[in-house]
Symmetry: C2
Subunit: 310 residues, 2 copies
């Protein structure tokens, strides 16, 4: 018998979904409170990394944590124990991220906000819109989310550049760049999209140098991690017109502080960390698949490397 | 030698593109003025149907008209001659239409205008957005544009219903409906999209009966033809809350008159006939291909049936 602790704001949803899967040899407790009783008896934990972190000292029997998020920063603090298998949620955020990124790119090409303003003024506005087709997108990071974005970009007839640490596994990327090739990567992009994880290697990768290498018509979209951006440099580029626009979902500090310059920066759209939500219906199948692997003694999918950070 | 008259507001662009194709046995004149000299000598005309109509009585030697538009209504008036081959522009508007339809659907799911209003008020707005994935789209008309929309719908994980006169040729449509099946077609749709041509058979197909068969959460999108819609019935449905919204590109009268009820109807977005523009770079290859067929004595592509109207 395996003891599972579900530790999530959506504990009841997860319990319902996992009960429905009728997994063998599984006994579970579902809670949104990290101060659950008899924490030491749980071998497996499914939950939000922030809640798991709070319970970590008491989860002495824990061997495997399945995160309900893609980002697992709360569990990567070097002061915390790492004597367990940590798996995160992957392969489920691609569709939401595609809708977000391509929806906002089309909104820009189509002058949606400008046309809505014209409508509110009662004005027929036949200004010709632009199109994604034929434009060039640059993906900072080509993991499972980046691959989903690349596929959608190809569907819309775009050219795709990818910047990765070294991997070149996605056939929808037309040209790969690594390491010091940031400038060549940024050259001639219409859209730069960051879906990098938060690691030491990605911190402030989008800095003044990278932004200066983008053409002035470019738009930066960040549904990934706020730590990847030098926010001061980005605000400068936007305010001086060296960058045409930005669509920002994530920030160094969230909620974005009331006095933050982005609230007053022209051509910024702020979407308040809603680009891709962790939905129990998406995540429960990831756990169910991994649980079957666990009981069969097979390697789990989506294992996090504590050193690499993803 | 074949004499071609280019009759278009983009005459110079078409001349440049067709010159570049170095077509054999072709002599051409490019003009934006239907009162061109020696009109009787032209065997072929490439142009906007409205301009061609003005010149029609004088184009006595004309055997073939290649329209630069999809819609050829100006040439379908029963009082006009029909002793020539009329081909229209097809297969080129699908990508633009897909960007329009899916951009506006995502804008709705993502609460783009609501989030922008929150931003302008300096408010962090984490309201969870919706998604296209899992939703159901109904296509009124599944020609080349409808097929392009169906492919994009599948890319985004939607279910697709199609309403046609009889054809069932698109594999991306999950369920087809015809004739009197309008009510079953409308049942449970999240989005209804009209890409019907303007014909006697499609006039006011979107009427009070069809609209009443849609669920109240549904949104109607019309990048096709204004004549397909009973505008009074649509305004009633929107104002009474029996329909959640509409995105309208085309109207019975354009520009939309200043006193039209749609300017004051809640949940309407007006895009001023910009969903798909006739771009010479897209249309010239259609003409070039058909010209090669013409000189080879082969059937032309995209021939319009004057009776059917498309």
């Amino acid at each position: 018998m395996h003891d599972l602790l579900i530790l999530s704001r959506h504990a009841a949803d997860y319990q319902r979904l996992i009960d429905a899967a009728r997994l063998p040899q599984l006994r579970l407790i579902a809670s949104s409170d990290p101060h659950v009783a008899a924490a030491d008896r749980f071998e497996i934990v499914l939950g939000e990394p922030s809640l798991v972190r709070s319970a970590l000292p008491r989860l002495t029997g824990m061997q495997w944590v399945q995160s309900t998020w893609a980002g697992v920063e709360p569990l990567l603090d070097p002061s915390l124990r790492r004597d367990y298998i940590l798996t995160n949620a992957r392969g489920v955020f691609g569709p939401q991220m595609s809708e977000y990124v391509f929806g906002y790119m089309i909104a820009r090409e189509r002058l949606m906000f400008e046309k809505y303003a014209a409508q509110q003024a009662g004005r027929w506005d036949p200004t010709p819109p632009g199109a994604l087709r034929g434009k060039q997108i640059g993906l900072l990071g080509v993991g499972s989310i980046g691959a989903a974005l690349a596929a959608t970009a190809k569907h819309f007839g775009m050219r795709v550049k990818g910047y990765t640490r070294g991997s070149e596994g996605c056939a929808d990327v037309d040209a790969y760049f690594h390491g010091d090739d940031r400038i060549a990567f940024a050259n001639d992009l219409d859209y730069l999209v960051s879906v990098m994880p938060n690691t030491a290697g990605t911190r402030r990768l989008v800095d003044a140098v990278l932004l200066a290498a983008l053409p002035p018509r470019a738009v930066f979209i960040n549904p990934g991690r706020g730590s990847v951006v030098d926010e001061r440099a980005l605000a400068d580029a936007l305010q001086s017109g060296r960058l045409a626009g930005a669509v920002l979902d994530v920030f160094e500090q969230e909620p974005l502080p009331a006095d933050h310059v982005f609230w007053r920066t022209p051509n910024v759209l702020i979407t308040s960390h809603t680009a891709a939500l962790s939905v129990p219906e998406d995540i429960a199948p990831v756990f169910v698949d991994n649980y079957r692997r666990w009981t069969a003694g097979e390697p789990l999918r989506y294992q996090v490397d504590f050193e690499a950070g993803y």
